[in-house]
Symmetry: C2
Subunit: 229 residues, 2 copies
């Protein structure tokens, strides 16, 4: 990895806690509707609605709010009142304004790498939401710039690398999603480090065995320093 | 303007029609609720809700949808059923999938400028939504890259200029909003051309007289070529 110049970090569940916030909101949403269906069936219906809506809405909390509203109406057979819709909107706003909880070891690793490599943050999701989380995190000063994309695929990583004016072998992406952070980067010739988070959104789960010399499976963020300091 | 290197275009109501789509959706929304209040009062309440929600949601159609839902519930005193919420969601999805209608003269002007200057598109709004509109517009190939920001203010324009590795006097922004496209760019030393669109969102309206040698008030996009070809 002698040619490494740029280290890119995923944000949600790599730098800070995210999926548990969605899961907490979802549990409270299921509680509201438990007269109609058991929790796990509501969750399944919600996931279906979210995936169907991805092409319209993309990722992020606003999309999640709209999908919760749609799911609540459909699974109740329109038997709910608008008070419940108000509660869903309140849940969503609460999630949007939740404090940002940085994951263990992140500031120490960023401190070590900062100045040695160009650090960027590369995330998908809602623009305003991710910018706001970065500001609240206090980590902003570590990053040369931030790339917020609507989908993390090969084409977008190629654009990011072109924009950085580097070759793929100068680029390392670190993140908790094999599907979004690792596989597409390896596919275009970059390095990918996977740090699993204890919980992953259903939609991000893939079953894959990676054999690629540019891939590393890590246990935690501190292990990054074994390979690139 | 001898030092001009980069010409940035706003997107909504500069490259393509946008505000009329929001107005059409809003009229249909007001129609649904006319048993409760007259149209203009509903519009006023909706605008209030939208502005209050900007800090949570930012710009774009999803934010507009959530604000319409909230407004419908509050102005009806919770007297509406969830069928109406479903109709609002359907209106929003229809707007998200509306065809992109390019404004008169745009391709001709982009053709003339392309190759002479680096052209970029600089817009606020929802990431996925703006990317999708650009793809559908068929104008993507004219632009070196696209900047989608959560707010168009001095700090964001400074970041864009720094990212382009140019000085403010190398930068021209063209758009229909004095508030978002012209004033902040002039304030940091760039050029700003204003091309009013026949209708403007209330929130973007400002009453200002600009006296700045780097400002031009144009009638239509073709006039750009009088100054910079």
């Amino acid at each position: 990895m002698k040619k490494l110049k740029v280290v890119a970090f995923d944000a949600d569940d790599t730098l800070w806690i995210n999926e548990p916030l969605f899961q907490q909101t979802e549990r409270r949403f299921c509680d509201m509707l438990e007269d109609f269906l058991p929790h796990h069936t509501i969750s399944q219906e919600l996931l279906k609605t979210e995936i169907q809506n991805l092409k319209h809405y993309g990722y992020g909390t606003k999309s999640f709010m709209l999908s919760m509203i749609e799911t609540a109406i459909s699974i109740s057979g329109k038997a709910i009142g608008v008070e419940l819709i108000e509660k869903i909107i309140a849940l969503g706003k609460e999630q949007l304004n939740a404090p940002v909880e940085i994951l263990t070891g992140i500031p120490e690793v960023l401190d070590q790498l900062h100045g040695k490599y160009k650090l960027i943050m590369a995330t998908k999701g809602d623009l305003l939401e991710q910018e706001r989380k970065l500001k609240r995190s206090g980590l902003e000063h570590y990053f040369h710039h931030v790339e917020i994309v609507s989908e993390k695929n090969e084409a977008e990583y190629e654009r990011i690398i072109k924009h950085l004016d580097i070759a793929p072998e100068n680029f390392l992406m670190i993140g908790n999603s094999l599907k979004s952070d690792v596989v597409p980067v390896l596919n275009i010739g970059g390095y990918g480090f996977h740090i699993p988070y204890h919980t992953t959104w259903e939609y991000e789960k893939i079953d894959i065995k990676i054999e690629n010399p540019k891939f590393r499976q890590l246990e935690n963020i501190a292990e990054v320093l074994k390979y690139i300091v």
